[in-house]
Amino acid sequence: MSWGDVVAILQGAVTTLTLSAIGILLGLPIGLGLALIRWSRLPLASPLVAVYVSLLRATPLVTLLLLLFFALPNVGIPVGPIEAGVISLTMNTSAFNCEVWRAALMDFPKDQLEAAQSMGMRRGLRFRRIVLPQLVKVSLPGLINEMSLLIKVTPVLAVVGVVDVTRAAVRIGAESYEPLPPFFVAIAIYLPIVFALVSLQRFVERRHAGGAFA
């Protein structure tokens, strides 16, 4: 394995990280939106979201990715590997994020809402000033956990041909007949990223717990 090969894997890492970041950035607000639909008990929409979330949480990302990659062009939506990858990551992570947001919404103290209402705050203002700041604080550890899970499933994108870390490593391994070194380089890229997220999650949890006792 040459330095050029390491560079190729690092270029794959840029793709992996970009797609992960897009998935995370899209998945956070969509998950919140879904959670709000469940929370507000919108007729029709709320049970639909419940089914969507349950289904998505049970679906392996490979299966979802293959479904989108092969079936969307069939119904006239042309998608390449990258688009299919981003859509599947976003759908997957938004379903898990929805559950994290929803759990926090369920625990939200009602008296605060009533107090804000009695102060004459309207719905939007109430949500922005009272609910959201506390919601973010409570949900943060769960959301970071979901981010680390998302990063860990990204090698799946290689299955449909996205040239990410894993695909670069597989190609180099196949060309050099030495599969182990490129795979270890790939793992050496993932390890610190996931470990940083897991440590961040622990840090946030501890600070949160500390705040509760203080």
Partner: protein, 217 residues
């Protein structure tokens, strides 16, 4: 609708894929739980060396994507002279990877268990493995039930990754139906619904264990 007819015509293939997914997941979950139960005491051991080794293994696995790990086991280990067929490689990867998660789950549940029953067991002359098996493990399994159930669902979903090493599980079956008859939507939606069904079964099982734990209290 015609496409679903095609998939129904290939139901034998789909159901054998489902059966393989179930076998893989159940065998892996049981083996990983057993090995995890052996590893968990090491994580909590007072001796530094074994605790460090166990902690390193668990953390490494928890930071590694399963797909990369499966690639290493299947493509990498043969170059070290260890040869597998795809079933052995897939099972070994699933079991080893999830052993780390199971051990961590059991350790987490163990850390919050009350110490009095264990002290009482000491007083009654229990020690070592017998103490662990009779006194420590049963309440641990009951209280960790929901998390262990989640991990089992994770194993079902991880087993889908093994399609990349051509293991004939559910996703692989759906893939081959779609490539033969070009019915992508029907083939993969059928697989997704079957995965959903599996998860609902696991969740029902967890709920049953939860009721059992409640009755024991």
């Amino acid at each position: 609708m015609h496409d679903f007819g095609v998939v129904w015509g290939q139901r034998g293939l789909l159901f054998s894929g489902l059966a393989n997914t179930v076998v893989l997941s159940v065998v892996s979950a049981v083996c990983a739980l057993a090995l995890g139960a052996l590893l968990a005491p090491l994580l909590m051991a007072r001796a530094k060396a074994p605790a460090f080794a166990a902690r390193s293994f668990v953390d490494a696995m928890r930071c590694t994507p399963f797909l990369l790990f499966a690639y290493i086991v299947y493509y990498g280990l043969p170059s070290l002279g260890i040869n597998f067929d795809n079933w052995q490689a897939g099972l070994a990867a699933l079991v080893l990877y999830n052993t780390a998660y199971m051990a961590e789950i059991l350790r987490g549940a163990w850390a919050v268990q009350p110490v009095q029953p264990i002290e009482a067991a000491h007083a009654f002359g229990f020690s070592g493995f017998r103490l662990f098996r009779r006194i420590v493990l049963p309440p641990l399994l009951l209280s960790a039930g929901p998390v262990l159930g989640n991990q089992t669902i994770q194993i079902v979903k991880d087993s889908a990754f093994l399609t990349i090493i051509a293991l004939p599980e559910l996703t692989h079956a759906a893939s081959s139906i779609q490539s033969r008859f070009y019915v992508p939507f029907a083939a993969f939606i059928s697989a997704v619904l079957l995965y959903w069904l599996l998860c609902l079964v696991v969740e029902a099982g967890v709920a049953a264990v939860g009721r059992m734990a409640e009755a024991r209290r």
